[in-house]
Amino acid sequence: MSSHDKPIAREASYGYDRQTLDYIRHAAAHGLYEIRGMGAKRALPNFDDLVFLGASLSRYPLEGYREKCSTKTVLGTRFASKPIELDIPITIAGMSFGSLSANVKEALGRAASEAGTSTTTGDGGMTEEERQSSKTLVYQCLPSRYGFNPDDVRRADAIEMVIGQGAKPGGGGMLLGQKVSARVAQMRTLPPGIDQRSACRHPDWTGPDDLAIKIQELRELTDWEKPIYVKVGATRTFNDVKLAVHAGADVVVVDGMQGGTAATQTCFIEHVGIPTLAAVRQAVDALEDLNMKGTVQLIVSGGIRSGPDVAKALAMGADAVSIGQGVLIALGCNHDSYFRNGAHHDATADYAALGTAPGYCHHCHTGKCPVGITTQDDALAQRLTPEVGARHLKNYLKTLTMELTTLARACGKQNVHHLEPEDLVALTVEAAAMARIPLAGTNWIPGASAI
């Protein structure tokens, strides 16, 4: 064999794999970081790494289909005179009108109301569609204060002070110009079509002592009626939860790094924050350390996808969960078709036009959502009607609730809030260490006890 015929070496580099090469070439071509939607795609320890110890001889199960298992959830009992009462511990996370179409916001409200839970506004303020369709609506107060006003504070059922978000703790949001329609621009007091940047810090307070006064302002404004949530992106969660409690929160929302976004820098999504599994443990530790477990409620979000995820979060000490990406997927996100006028219509060409395919799309930032969810384009938005979206989402919430109660009964619980860490074991050392749940078949919690 001559040297000319020698096979071409194809030894891939671990450090400079195809993704890394693409990243460097993109950076060299554009001079700007990549912006995208959705959440972290990297492999992370998550709730799949925990399993339940169902009842056997040492525990007595409830009859799986007939015995009652309560899912009632009350949030905001610390200071508010009108706490939130929900039928299920699964809430809809804050997502903005602007990132989502008005049809989607209405669908979220309808489904949440039918399922007996709450939905949440987002950056950009409250739309009439979501207020009218949502029996229980949580109104976010964000650093940008886009569209924030006292009339909507009073119309809300609870207020969520957003400090950060799991997808981008420490960073502000952004909404690219193609989604800043005339209505979005009017609500946010911005010129239409600009690339909108959101601040990462609140304009009128800095630090937990200021936050305590800010929360008091909101309480005074609402005559101490409405629960006040404080939402943090998961980073230094133990300290942050303690400070949120100190500041007067009724409810603390902890959003892990698997949480989604409509658009932010990829470097944020993949490289900032800690996994939800680790954040739940730190949050619960903080509440217990302050003797505030049960007084201040904990909502966990960031990568909650299924009934088992909900059950595991509750077993670890959450009072409720909040779901964003799972909700969008239930509405049809990343589906190869959309349903309209009684028929399915193929959307794969629209995915291809974005340079992606069903199952891989994270192009929420473009406003060209092939299934009409994350768009302000009127024609695309018609691909998801509130009726169809609400039906799918209600089904999803029902399924999660059935799975949750099934698992709770199997652990012998008449109330899903009675699930406890003792019901869980971990399948990996990493999950055991982060969640401080013993490795299956052992009593070993790495970092907490000897083998």
């Binding site: 554009h30 912006i35 504070v153 009128d204 200021d210 006064i213 800010k214 005559d223």
Partner: protein, 229 residues
């Protein structure tokens, strides 16, 4: 009941605010005087009617916060976030104002006779702010709409990341923020400054003011913006 007086040394803040929300909104009182505020936070927040409130002394954080329609006067100085998110009406601070005065205001008029601290008019979304003295650094940061008149000096990074708000400064500007620039004053600007000064009860020559507005170079992501975002 045209006039009521509340002594905050004797009356809990919640009682005052609840009164203002219920009795004043029902039109049962036209004027409320608050004595001994002694720096209390959240005085007269969330008002929603054309009542006149006089706070005799110094107020703490968020005095007149989220105001609609009411006319609120602080005879002393005001803490952080005075008139934050005001929708309409008027807030007048006769002394000095701390940080974040008029933050994210949507409407109304905020008058500060003395100086204002850091981030005055940050995230401004409408309405007008007139400051008789100077303002601190990062004032009008990301201000989206509305107008600000500064009769004294401005600190560092004035108008950083401005959108459509317009600033008028009589004194020295220590530095402009990203995308803010000084523009020529027009007759319309002179008239605007005069009207705002008249509304605030201040006397200056509008021809002495500079106009600061957005160069609009950061409205779209641009690799040549050299990290200005």
């Amino acid at each position: 009941m045209e006039r009521m007086s509340f002594d905050l040394a004797q009356t809990p803040l919640r009682e005052l605010n609840a009164f203002l929300h219920r009795e004043a909104s029902a039109g049962r009182v036209k004027q409320v005087v608050v004595t001994h505020p002694d720096g209390a936070h959240n005085i007269a927040v969330g008002l929603d009617c054309p009542v006149e409130v006089e706070i005799v002394g110094h107020a703490g954080y968020y005095a007149g916060g989220m105001n609609k329609l009411a006319s609120i006067t602080v005879t002393g100085s005001a803490g952080t976030g005075v008139a934050e998110n005001m929708m309409s009406g008027r807030v007048h601070v006769k002394g000095f104002a701390s940080n974040g005065a008029g933050a994210s205001m949507h409407g109304g008029l905020l008058v500060i006779d003395g100086d204002a601290g850091l981030r005055c008019g940050i995230s401004l979304k409408g309405g007008d702010i007139v400051v008789g003295g100077s303002v601190g650094s990062f004032s009008a940061f990301m201000a989206q709409a509305g107008r600000m008149v500064i009769c004294g000096d401005a600190g560092d990074a004035l108008g950083d990341s401005l959108y459509e708000a317009v600033l008028y400064v009589k004194g020295r500007i220590k530095s402009l923020g990203a995308d803010a620039r000084i523009e020529a004053m027009t007759e319309a600007d002179h008239a605007t400054v005069k009207a705002l000064l008249d509304a605030a009860g201040m006397a200056h020559d509008p021809r002495d003011f500079k106009r600061v507005a957005s160069a609009r170079n950061l409205y779209h992501w641009n690799a040549d913006a050299d990290q200005e975002y």
